[in-house]
C-alpha cells in the first residue's frame, strides 16, 4: 500500500526528535563531551544521520532545565570547547526515561501476529466445543 513520502519523513523526524534528547543524555551519562565529540559518538555508535546543529538546542534545553552542567575548556587546537556533563538529576531522569522507552519498545516489538493466531485458534476450539 502506498503512503505519502512527506508523511513518512515527518514521522521519522518526530520519532527522532523525541529519542534524540534521550540519546544525548545517554552519551553524557557515560562521560563528558563537547558538542562535536557528542555528535561523533552518536553518529558512529548509533549510525543515525542528523543535522549537527540540531544538537545544540537540545543541549541548551537540558542546560536550562539543570539536567546537564557545562564548562568552557581551552583547546590546544583552535577555539575553546564547551564540555557538558550530566547532573545527578539528569542521571535520575535518564534512568526513568530509559525504563519508559524500554517498555515502549517492547510494546512495539511484540509479536502481535503470533499472539493473534493463537487467540483465533483458541476461539475455533471454543466453537467446536459448542
Amino acid at each position: 500500500m502506498e503512503y505519502p513520502e512527506d508523511g513518512r519523513d515527518r514521522r521519522i523526524a518526530q520519532l527522532r526528535r523525541g529519542v534524540l534528547e534521550l540519546a544525548v543524555m545517554g552519551v553524557l551519562y557515560h562521560g563528558r563531551h563537547y558538542g562535536y565529540s557528542l555528535i561523533r559518538v552518536l553518529s558512529e555508535r548509533g549510525s543515525i544521520s542528523l543535522k549537527e546543529g540540531t544538537i545544540y538546542p537540545i543541549l541548551a534545553r537540558l542546560d536550562r532545565d539543570g539536567l546537564v552542567g557545562s564548562e568552557w575548556v581551552e583547546s590546544a587546537q583552535g577555539p575553546p570547547r564547551k564540555y557538558y556533563t550530566l547532573t545527578s538529576s539528569g542521571r535520575q531522569l535518564f534512568d526513568e526515561l530509559s525504563q519508559e522507552l524500554d517498555s515502549l519498545v517492547s510494546l512495539v516489538q511484540q509479536n502481535w501476529k503470533t499472539q493473534e493466531q493463537s487467540e483465533s485458534a483458541g476461539k475455533k476450539l471454543v466453537v467446536r466445543k459448542g
Binding site: 543535522k51 549537527e52 546543529g53 545544540y56
Partner: protein, 254 residues
C-alpha cells in the same frame, strides 16, 4: 584562534553572522556563548572533514550543521517561529497594544452603533405593523357596531346604557341627527375607511420593509468588503515579508 584559509574564514564568519542575525532577540550573553559554541564546532568539523578543496570542505561542514533556522529554532520562543519565519515581535507587541487601546473600543463602539441602528430599524418596522394592525382592528370593531346599529338597534341602545359603548362629544351630537340605520351606515363607512387605511399600510409595509432590509444588506456588504480588503492586505504583507529564516545559499558562499 583558528587557522582557516581567508576564504573559508569569510564563509564561516558569514554563516555565524547569519545565525547571529536570527538571534538578535536573544540576550547578548546567551547569544555570544551560543555563537562561540558554533564557531568551535565548525572549526572541529572543518579540521576533521577529509576534503581537499577548502571551500568544498567548509560548505560540506555547514551543510551537515544545518540551516540557521534549524539551529536557532530551539533558542527562540515558540511564538517567534512560525513555519520557519521569524516575525518582527516588537512591532507585533506595539500593534497589539494599539489594537487593545483604540481598535477594540472603537470596534465595540462601531458594533454598538450598528446593533443600535438595526434594532431601531426593526423597532420602526414593528411599530408600523402594530399601527396597521390596530387600525384594521378598529375598522373591524366599527363594522360590527354599524351592523349591530342597523340590524339590532335595541341591542345597541342597551349596550350604550350599560356603558359597553361610550360615545360622546361632537361625533355623538352629529349622529343623533340621523336615524339608527343611517347611523349604522355612517359607522360602516367609517369602518371601510379604517380598513382601507390599514390595508393600505400593510401594502406600503412591503416597500417599507424593503428599505431596512436594503440598508442592513448594504451595511453587511460593506463590512464583508472591508474584511476582504484587510485579509488581502495581510496576505500581501505576508508574501512580501523577509525571506524565511535560514535560507542560506551555500553555493554562493557569501
Amino acid at each position: 584562534m583558528n587557522d582557516y584559509p581567508p576564504v573559508v574564514a569569510k564563509i564561516a564568519k558569514d554563516y555565524l553572522e547569519r545565525v547571529k542575525a536570527q538571534l538578535r532577540l536573544v540576550p547578548a550573553r546567551e547569544r555570544d556563548e551560543f555563537l562561540r559554541e558554533i564557531e568551535s564546532h565548525l572549526y572541529e568539523a572543518y579540521r576533521n572533514t577529509p576534503i581537499d578543496d577548502d571551500v568544498a570542505r567548509i560548505l560540506a561542514v555547514l551543510r551537515n550543521f544545518g540551516e540557521p533556522a534549524e539551529v536557532v529554532a530551539g533558542r527562540l520562543p515558540g511564538t517567534m517561529m512560525r513555519s520557519g519565519a521569524k516575525r518582527n515581535l516588537p512591532l507585533y507587541v506595539v500593534g497589539g497594544i494599539f489594537i487593545a487601546l483604540f481598535g477594540i473600543p472603537l470596534g465595540f463602539g462601531g458594533l454598538s452603533v450598528l446593533v443600535g441602528l438595526l434594532l431601531a430599524l426593526a423597532g420602526m418596522v414593528a411599530a408600523f405593523y402594530a399601527t396597521a394592525g390596530s387600525i384594521l382592528l378598529a375598522g373591524a370593531m366599527f363594522t360590527l357596531l354599524g351592523l349591530s346599529r342597523i340590524l339590532l338597534p335595541g341591542l345597541f341602545d342597551r349596550l350604550v346604557e350599560l356603558g359597553f359603548i361610550q360615545m360622546g362629544g361632537p361625533v355623538a351630537e352629529f349622529l343623533d341627527h340621523f336615524s339608527p340605520s343611517d347611523q349604522g351606515v355612517f359607522m360602516l363607512l367609517f369602518a371601510c375607511v379604517l380598513v382601507a387605511f390599514g390595508l393600505g399600510m400593510l401594502w406600503l409595509g412591503r416597500y417599507i420593509f424593503r428599505g431596512p432590509r436594503f440598508l442592513s444588506g448594504l451595511l453587511f456588504d460593506w463590512i464583508r468588503r472591508l474584511a476582504h480588503t484587510v485579509r488581502r492586505k495581510l496576505g500581501r504583507e505576508n508574501r512580501e515579508a523577509p525571506p524565511r529564516v535560514g535560507q542560506v545559499s551555500f553555493a554562493n558562499g557569501k
